[in-house]
């Protein structure tokens, strides 16, 4: 039987994978995908803890997290589209206007 720890370790691993993806990838869209991975890892943690504590609150929070993730994905992609229009590139390194 999987214990709580198993779920937690899994979500930690997923979270780390997501973070590595944000850092390593050079494609804006892929970066956003990695963020989604991270969010999902967190969702998993919430549900696992909710189940362990015997309350449904964990799921409620997941509900909200998903909503926010959806909103964020939408806006993020809109920004990516706008940026692409501006520079025709999806490489984050080509957006250095904020450089000193």
């Amino acid at each position: 039987m999987p214990t709580l720890n198993d779920y937690l370790v899994l979500s930690a691993v997923l979270f780390a994978i997501g973070t590595a993806g944000v850092f390593v990838r050079k494609n804006l869209i892929t970066i956003l995908l990695s963020i989604e991975i991270m969010l999902n890892a967190v969702n998993l943690t919430f549900v696992a803890f909710g189940r362990a504590l015997g309350a449904a609150d964990g799921q409620i929070i997941v509900f909200f997290v998903m909503t926010v993730a959806a909103a964020e994905a939408a806006v993020g992609l809109a920004i990516v589209i706008a940026l692409y229009r501006h520079r025709e590139s999806l490489n984050p390194d080509s957006f250095t206007v904020l450089k000193w």
């Binding site: 973070t19 944000v22 850092f23 050079k26 984050p92 390194d93 957006f95 250095t96 206007v97 904020l98 450089k99 000193w100």
Partner: protein, 675 residues
């Protein structure tokens, strides 16, 4: 009531300073003259009240308000009228009034605003001088002391468009300040030593001491105070400002630099007579400095060609006499000479002013001559003044100067007496050189072009249509000026008689009147009144022998004076070329004298230049620019440099930001887990 005496001129100052530009000249001048004349009236009334008191209780004290009350220390603004102050306020307000009236005519050609400014300064000066002499403690006196210095600066530099006038004003103020530094130190030391700044209290404390045999605290205090006096009263070494101060209008020279401000130092010593009597070392120094100054100034005055400069050096010389008197302990004699000197020196200055006014700004003696016929009133009054200062018997100057010389001799200072006598000879010579060159002989060949114009106004001189500014329009002094001249001339003759010595049949009334000021007001317990004038005891006992001595010395003085006049006559009337021949024989001596012993040059090299170099190169460049600015700018540059370095964090690269976020999370998480 005492407060009114300085308050009235102060009110005049306020009116003329605030509204002067909008007032007509007659109103502005009228306000100022009314203020000082009213002050004279009040002073007269106050003196009458004073005289009505018995001699040993002759003092009117008027506390005005408590100025400083801090912990244990209180300093009150209190005015005190005693015989010494009475003489001073009468001189200040009386002669001051005459000079104010004279000025209304002399300054007539200034614009309305300038006219009012002049009178506002004049009134302010009178107010401060009165505060100086009426103050009952060092603090109030110091207020007046500084105030008259300020007004002197303002008035010397009155024609501020002229660079030489500005420079002279600054020089006067700065040299004064140097003296004032010594003065303040003396006051502070006195406070430390005696615990009070009040004159009476200090005198009482000092009277309990015995005169110092070595150079102790009291000697130091008095020496510091005397340094202040040398600045204010133009003695060696701080006299150098007075000749330059002639840049100011002539009535200013008459009032401030002859009759009143420069006498502040003498007054101060008189005020602290008890204190000074306990410091014989300082008194000796004072006497020597006084005599030396008198001699030195006399020699310089012999070769000056500017009419006002001659009078300026004459003033320095006569002040030397006063300090000589104070130094030998003859305080009353010093004050007596102060009083008579005020009359005839003011007269001489005002007379020279009339001459300059008539010659439209000419001040060079070599271009004058024969004015005797064209300016009679001026000539006769001037002559009286000259006779008085030379010490011709019968006039005021004779009595006061002779008194000083007598006291000097009688108190054992033979050498100083010789110096004093010789200086009297010089005085007669240079004074009558001036008279003869200016008023006798034939008029100067060409119409004088003003080389040292006193007035910068290009407007026509006088309202009566006298014509172009150059050229001689020789009208004698206008009524306002003539009145002053005549009154002063009468004073120069008559004023001396209240000091007529016993040996000539008089009662020496002035000295008797002044004596209480130079002693300590006795507490009821003490029975014996201690006088600090050595001469007083001596006169009581000496009797005939002293009389004879006095007669002999008087004769010597009179002969000297007449001899001096005679010498001047020979050189400057009989054959004018004789003087030039003498100059040709001793060119070196002449050069030294006419360059005033190069004192100004010495001061410049020894004092001014080193200070300037230290200030400019050392302090300004080194400290201010390099160190202070360097530090401040350095801080700014460091900040700039640091931020330029830190700026590089803003790479603009999103991934770099993400990286730093990532690293931060790991680090923080690790930190918390570790704990």
């Amino acid at each position: 009531m005492l407060l009114l005496i300085p308050l009235l001129p102060l009110a005049g100052f306020l009116v003329d300073a605030s509204f002067g530009r909008r007032l007509s000249k007659s109103i502005a001048g009228g306000v100022a003259c009314a203020a000082i004349v009213a002050s004279f009236a009040v002073a007269l009334a106050a003196v009458f009240r004073l005289v009505a008191l018995p001699p040993d209780a002759r003092a009117i004290v008027e506390p005005v308000y408590t100025w400083i009350a801090s912990g244990d220390f209180t300093a009150a603004f209190t005015l005190r009228l005693d015989p010494l102050a009475a003489v001073m306020i009468l001189v200040i307000t009386g002669i001051g009034s005459l000079i104010h009236v004279y000025s209304t005519a002399y300054m007539q050609e200034e614009s309305d605003g300038e006219f009012a400014r002049y009178f506002s300064y004049l009134n302010l000066f009178a107010a401060f001088m009165l505060v100086l002499v009426l103050g009952s403690n060092f603090l109030v006196m110091f207020v007046g002391w500084e105030g008259v210095g300020l007004c002197s600066y303002l008035l010397i530099g009155f024609w501020y468009q002229k660079q030489s006038a500005i420079d002279a004003g600054k020089k006067a103020f700065i040299v004064n300040r140097i003296g004032d530094f010594g003065f303040v130190l003396g006051v502070l030391l006195a406070f430390v030593r005696f615990g009070s700044l009040d004159f009476q209290e200090i005198a009482r404390s000092a009277a309990t001491l015995s005169p110092e045999t070595t150079f102790g605290t009291v000697s130091l205090i008095t020496l510091l105070l005397f340094i202040g006096a040398t600045g204010k009263s133009a003695q060696i070494p701080l006299y150098v400002w007075l000749p330059d101060a002639m840049e100011g209008p002539t009535p200013v020279s008459a009032l401030i630099h002859a009759a009143t401000m420069v006498t502040a130092g003498v007054y101060m010593i008189g005020r602290n007579a008890v204190l000074f009597s306990h410091a014989p070392a300082t008194l000796t120094i004072i006497a020597i400095v006084g005599a030396a100054t008198a001699l030195m100034a006399g020699t310089i005055g012999l070769v000056q060609n500017d009419i006002k400069r001659v009078l300026a050096y004459s003033t320095v010389s006569q002040l030397g006499y006063m300090f000589l008197a104070m130094g030998v302990g003859a305080y009353a004699a010093g004050i007596f000479h102060l009083y008579t000197h005020a009359f005839f020196k003011a007269l001489l200055f005002l007379g020279s002013g009339a001459v300059i006014h008539a010659l439209a700004g000419e001040q060079d003696l070599r271009r004058m001559g024969g004015l005797r016929k064209e300016l009679p009133v001026t000539y006769w009054t001037f002559l009286i003044g000259a006779l008085a200062i030379a010490g011709v018997p019968g006039l005021a100057g004779f009595f006061s100067k002779d008194e000083i010389l007598f006291r000097t001799f009688a108190n054992g200072h033979r050498l100083l007496w010789v110096v004093g006598l010789f200086t009297a000879l010089l005085t007669a010579i240079y004074m009558f050189r001036l008279v003869f060159l200016a008023f006798h002989g034939s008029p100067a060949p060409a119409p004088a072009r003003p080389e040292h114009p006193e007035e910068e106004e290009p407007a026509a001189h006088g309202a009566a249509g006298h014509g172009a500014p150059h050229g001689r329009h020789l009208h004698d002094a206008p009524p306002a000026m003539a009145v002053a001249l005549i009154v002063l001339a009468v004073g120069s003759v008559a004023a001396g008689y209240i000091g007529l010595p016993a040996s000539l049949g008089g009662g020496d009334r002035l000295a008797a009147f002044l004596a209480p000021s130079f002693t300590v007001a006795e507490r009821p317990a003490d029975a014996v009144e201690r006088s600090v004038e050595p001469g007083g005891d001596r006169e009581a006992e000496a009797g005939e022998a002293s009389r004879g001595l006095e007669w002999a010395l008087m004769t010597a003085s009179a002969v000297t004076a007449l001899a001096g006049i005679g010498l001047a006559w020979i050189f400057f009337v009989r054959s004018r070329t004789a003087a030039d021949a003498l100059v040709a024989r001793f060119p070196g001596v002449y050069r030294i004298l006419s360059r005033k012993y190069y004192v100004d040059e010495i001061y410049d090299a020894a004092v001014v230049q080193p200070i300037r170099i230290v200030s400019e190169d050392g302090l300004w460049q080194g400290v201010d620019v390099r160190i202070i600015d360097g530090a401040v700018n350095g801080v700014a540059e460091t900040v700039g440099g640091a931020s330029a370095w830190l700026r590089r964090l803003q790479t603009g690269s999103v991934r770099a930001y993400a990286a730093s976020l990532f690293v931060g999370v790991v680090a923080i998480l690790g930190y918390y887990l570790w704990r």
